[in-house]
């Protein structure tokens, strides 16, 4: 056998071995992975809403990069998992230790009656997606939105929200509202900053100087959309283990998040 033939056979064999190895690593054989945290069946799934981005939010200049395209995944998945650890430790909710990403392009979202969305000033819905989210909320689903700041973000958020719930009024939540007293009594709330506080010492971003605890209710007065404007709870969960991030912010973020989950599971 000539050398080139040996080399060719060796290359083919090596290629086959690598292909087999790669297949073994990624292929789903349908068994052997039941113990994976992502396969655990639970009552509660931390569900993060993945949405399409509204390009106009970037001034029409097409910042269509990673941060724009994947705006929904800010702090993902560390914030989600840190929060689930706290939920597991502090409540009796039977939650899966890993997050679940849900979208609005199919009915799978109806299996997850509690969803969390960030950077919602960037979201954009088709009519079908808006209808699906409206039905989701009116049937009993609960949406918590977080991490958008200032006047412009608010308007962009509301553009999407008006498409989903055109006739619903947004109201400011009083401290005595039931949603702040389901598990913890959160009376004295503060503005919860993102991790930029470590670098800047500012609790606000853009012109969002005051925290806005807001909500949209259904016909029976139950909160269906909990709005955390001018704050960033997701970062507080994500950076809770950073010694430079103040503990009071993180603690309160956890308490509010848990209150919102218990509210969503009881109202």
């Amino acid at each position: 056998m000539k050398l080139w033939q040996i080399a060719l056979v060796s290359a083919v064999i090596a290629g086959c071995c690598m292909g087999l190895r790669a297949y073994q690593r990624v292929a789903d054989f349908g068994f052997g992975n039941d113990d994976s945290p992502t396969n655990v069946k639970a009552e509660f799934y931390w569900s993060r809403l993945a949405y399409n981005v509204n390009m106009q939010a970037f001034g029409g200049y097409g910042h269509y990069g990673y941060w724009g395209r994947f705006a929904w995944s800010r702090d993902y998945p560390k914030a989600d998992r840190q929060f689930l650890i706290a939920m597991h430790r502090l409540t009796r909710v039977d939650g899966r230790p890993t997050e679940q990403v849900v979208t609005l392009d199919n009915d799978e979202i109806f299996n997850y009656p509690w969803i969390y969305a960030v950077q919602v000033h960037l979201w954009s819905f088709t009519d079908e997606e808006a209808k699906r989210l409206r039905e989701y909320l009116l049937k009993g689903g609960f949406l918590m939105v977080d991490d958008f700041h200032g006047t412009e973000d608010w308007e962009n958020f509301m553009n999407g929200m008006r498409q989903v719930l055109p006739d619903r009024r947004v109201e400011d939540l009083a401290s005595g509202d039931e949603i702040f007293h389901t598990l913890y009594d959160v009376d004295d709330k503060m503005q919860i900053p993102g991790e930029q506080w470590i670098r800047t010492g500012r609790t606000y971003e853009k012109d969002g100087y005051q925290p806005k605890w807001r909500a949209i209710r259904d016909d029976k007065g139950r909160i269906i959309v909990a709005i955390c404007h001018n704050m960033h709870l997701g970062d507080a969960w994500e950076w809770a283990d950073d010694p430079n991030y103040p503990e009071p912010f993180a603690s309160m973020a956890f308490r509010v998040g848990l209150d919102y989950i218990i509210y969503g599971m009881t109202h």
Partner: protein
């Protein structure tokens, strides 16, 4: 009896001796007799000879019979003619029943009776009154109370020598309720005490030619607002088999529901169900009607009215949940739409925190699940979610058992990771409460999808009725989106009913199981995943909420309050006498006789009465009163109880309705009730007569022990039958011998 002075025992001895002697003689001679006689024929000859000898011996002992006979013209025969409206029906060869009865009497029967007895004429309807002549009869009485009337007759004529009663009637008896039949025991006994035979003469056709009749309507006497109700309507028809008619229920002029029914074969009792909503709160008079068909003889029996009370009183349900979960949320939301329920919940959000919702006072459930009966028994129903049995102390477990058994409450157990067998309920003292035998182990809850289907019992159950049509309802359940999870609840206990089951893999598991326990009821809904019916069905689909509202209404509907009032019948037919019974319990649901109980009654034409109820001497906590509803119409009674003493405290109240109807029952069961007339005559020593067969009545009626009678001894030797037998037996033997050729 035997008149001879010879010893009576000698007669059977001699009969046996002669028979035996003949038998021996026959047997000895059979050997030499013709072969034909050596078979059964020989013994037939022996039988006839023995019978002949026995008859001769019997006559030697002088048999006789003692009979009582009414003395001529010293006794009275009461001729009683039914004077009720049903006697105006013209089904006796073109004339009315009453006209036929009068004609029968005038056709020699009355004169025949008058030759032997004094005759008094009476008419019977609501009561009995004496008549001067037959021309006074008018079939207008609104009811027929045969039993009560004859009892009244027996009492009023106690000092008269009544020898017999002749009753001419169609047998319609209203005392036993709508068109009911049966003469009261006390009426029969009063006739028997006087040995008064009642000879009945029946008029009217026994079978109807063309008629549709409502036989009965069964529907709850009370309901909560907007409850979905089922009325079971029984009907019979003759002459319209296979035709279609419409069954309706109305509240006044408002039609609540209607459905087309196909009439069953002639004379067959047909049962149909009608579904309707109770509507708003208030006392209602429901009219159930089967649409009259062309050519119907009696359209007056096509409708019935029943009173019903629709209340908006809130019933409290306590939901105990061991962990936050979606089922909790969506059951709560379903019940928030039910105005008749106050939904109280306690949810363990963390190991040491309980989140309470729906409480009336901040102190409610502040210490967790109640430990005192007066706190727990205030709830009409309890739901136990994913909670370990160990969460309840032994005292609370016993309280829960008493809650169902003694207080009469309802408990629903849900499936979950800490429910049923997985929550250790099978090993707890509360296992007895459950309607199933739980499986062993603690791995019977599965977070896997499962579809649902109804069982045969579930198809007919109001709990699982999402659609009124049973077939469509069963299909709807099959098409419901799958459950998020299910639990193996084991096998149903005897007496439990499985209404729905899950298709989990290749297995069918009971899903919804109900049973009665003590004075209350328990159920299992072996899943925590019905919330998907809300989230995954179309927006506005009522399946989830409707099911839970119906299930929880069933759970609490029969849970009694501390004061519960009842009456034997809610429709009083042609008589207003009514007895109220009220059970009063204290806060621990123990019967109390230390109460002041009053009933405030409002009725038609401004009727208003306030009566005190008196405690029963036999039953503690029971209070009774009798009252008369004089006017026809609907009545509403509110019963209130308060403790006695210097500072009376309200113990509770209850409201109920009843209705008096005049002349309605007479429209039902208008065919001749021959069975009743035959029973009445046979129970009193009389006889049932056909109108065409009455010529012997004046003679036969003379044999009676009532009135002034003489006892005569009649010897039997000269009866024609004796001579026929004495001649007939030897002749028959001779003829048979001739036939067999062995003369």
């Amino acid at each position: 009896m035997l008149l001879s002075t010879w010893p009576k025992w000698l007669l059977p001895v001699l009969i046996l001796a002669f028979s035996a002697g003949l038998a021996m003689l026959v047997r000895r001679r059979l050997r030499d007799a013709s072969p034909k006689l050596q078979t059964w024929r020989g013994w037939a000859v022996w039988g006839m000879q023995s019978a002949c000898v026995a008859l001769i011996l019997l006559l030697l002992w002088q048999p006789a019979m003692i009979v009582s006979a009414l003395s001529s013209q010293q006794n009275i025969v009461a001729v009683v003619v039914d004077d009720s409206r049903s006697m105006a029906i013209a089904d006796s060869d073109g004339e009315t029943r009453e006209a036929a009865a009068v004609a029968t009497l005038q056709d020699g029967i009355l004169s025949g009776l008058q030759k032997r007895f004094q005759v008094r004429l009476y008419r019977i309807g609501n009561g009995v009154t004496q008549l001067d002549g037959l021309n006074k009869l008018r079939p207008v009485e609104t009811a027929t109370h045969i039993g009560d009337g004859l009892k009244q007759l027996a009492a009023e004529t106690a000092d008269l020598p009544i020898g017999a009663i002749v009753l001419l009637s169609d047998g319609g008896e209203n005392t036993a309720g709508m068109g009911g039949s049966g003469i009261g025991v006390d009426a029969v006994q009063s006739l028997r005490n006087r040995r008064l035979p009642v000879h009945t003469v029946g008029f009217g056709k026994v079978n109807r030619a063309h008629d549709v009749e409502l036989e009965d309507v069964s529907v709850a006497s009370s309901a909560i607002v907007n409850a979905r109700l089922t009325a079971t309507v029984s009907l019979k028809q003759d002459g319209f088999a296979g035709q279609k008619s419409t069954l309706t229920v109305r509240d006044g002029n408002k039609r609540l529901a209607a459905r087309e029914v196909t009439l069953a074969p002639n004379g067959v009792l047909q049962t149909e169900q009608l579904f309707f909503s109770a509507g708003t709160a208030g006392a209602k008079t429901l009219t159930f009607e089967i649409e009259p068909l062309a050519g119907e003889e009696n359209p007056g029996n096509n409708a019935m009215t029943l009173p019903m009370l629709v209340t908006d009183a809130k019933r409290r349900i306590l939901y105990v949940e061991g962990e936050p979960r979606w089922e909790f949320k969506f059951i709560r939301r379903a019940e928030e739409d039910d105005p008749t329920v106050q939904f109280v919940s306690m949810l363990r959000t963390s190991e040491n925190k309980i989140y309470r919702q729906g409480i009336s006072d901040p102190s409610d459930l502040a210490d967790g699940f109640p430990v005192r009966p007066e706190n727990l028994f205030d709830y009409a129903g309890i739901i136990i979610g994913s909670v370990d049995a160990d969460y309840f102390t032994p005292l609370q477990q016993e309280l829960l058992r008493e809650y169902v058994d003694r207080r009469g409450g309802g408990v629903l157990f849900l499936g979950g990771r800490s429910s049923l067998s997985d929550g250790g309920w099978g090993e707890s003292s509360m296992n007895d409460l459950l309607p199933t035998f739980l499986p062993s182990g603690r791995n019977n809850f599965h977070r896997n999808s499962a579809t649902v289907e109804l069982t045969a019992a579930g198809v007919d159950s109001p709990i699982t009725r999402l659609l009124d049509d049973p077939a469509k309802n069963a299909e709807r359940w099959k098409k419901l989106t799958y459950l998020a999870d299910y639990e193996d609840a084991g096998s149903p206990k005897p007496g439990a009913t499985v209404l729905a089951q899950t298709n989990a893999g290749h297995r069918k598991l009971p899903l919804l199981i109900t049973q009665n326990y003590g004075h209350g009821r328990t159920a299992i809904m072996a899943t925590g995943g019905t919330w998907r019916w809300q989230m995954s069905e179309a927006l506005g689909d009522p399946s989830h909420d409707l099911f839970w509202q119906q299930l929880l209404r069933w759970l609490v509907a029969d849970s009694p309050g501390r004061v519960t009032a009842s009456i034997p019948q809610r429709v009083l037919m042609d008589e207003g006498h009514v007895q109220f019974s009220v059970e009063v319990r204290d806060r621990q649901f123990q019967p109390t006789s230390d109460a002041h109980v009053t009933a405030n009654i409002a009725g038609p034409e401004g009727t208003n009465a306030l009566i005190d109820l008196t405690p029963s001497r036999d039953t503690q906590g029971l209070y009774q009163a009798e009252w008369a509803a004089e006017k026809p119409g609907a009545y509403l009674a509110e019963v209130t109880a308060e403790s006695t003493g210097t500072q009376p405290q309200a113990l509770g109240s209850d409201v109920f309705t009843f209705q008096r109807e005049n002349g309605i029952a007479e429209n039902f069961h208008v065919e001749q009730n021959r069975t009743l007339l035959e029973q009445l005559s046979s129970q009193t020593g009389g006889r049932y007569w056909e109108p065409s067969d009455l010529k012997n009545l004046p003679r036969d009626i003379a044999y009676s022990e009532a009135g002034i009678s003489v006892r005569t001894t009649n010897e039997l030797w000269n009866m024609p039958v004796v001579f026929v037998l004495l001649l007939g037996l030897p002749i028959a033997e001779w003829l048979l011998r001739r036939k067999w050729g062995v003369v």
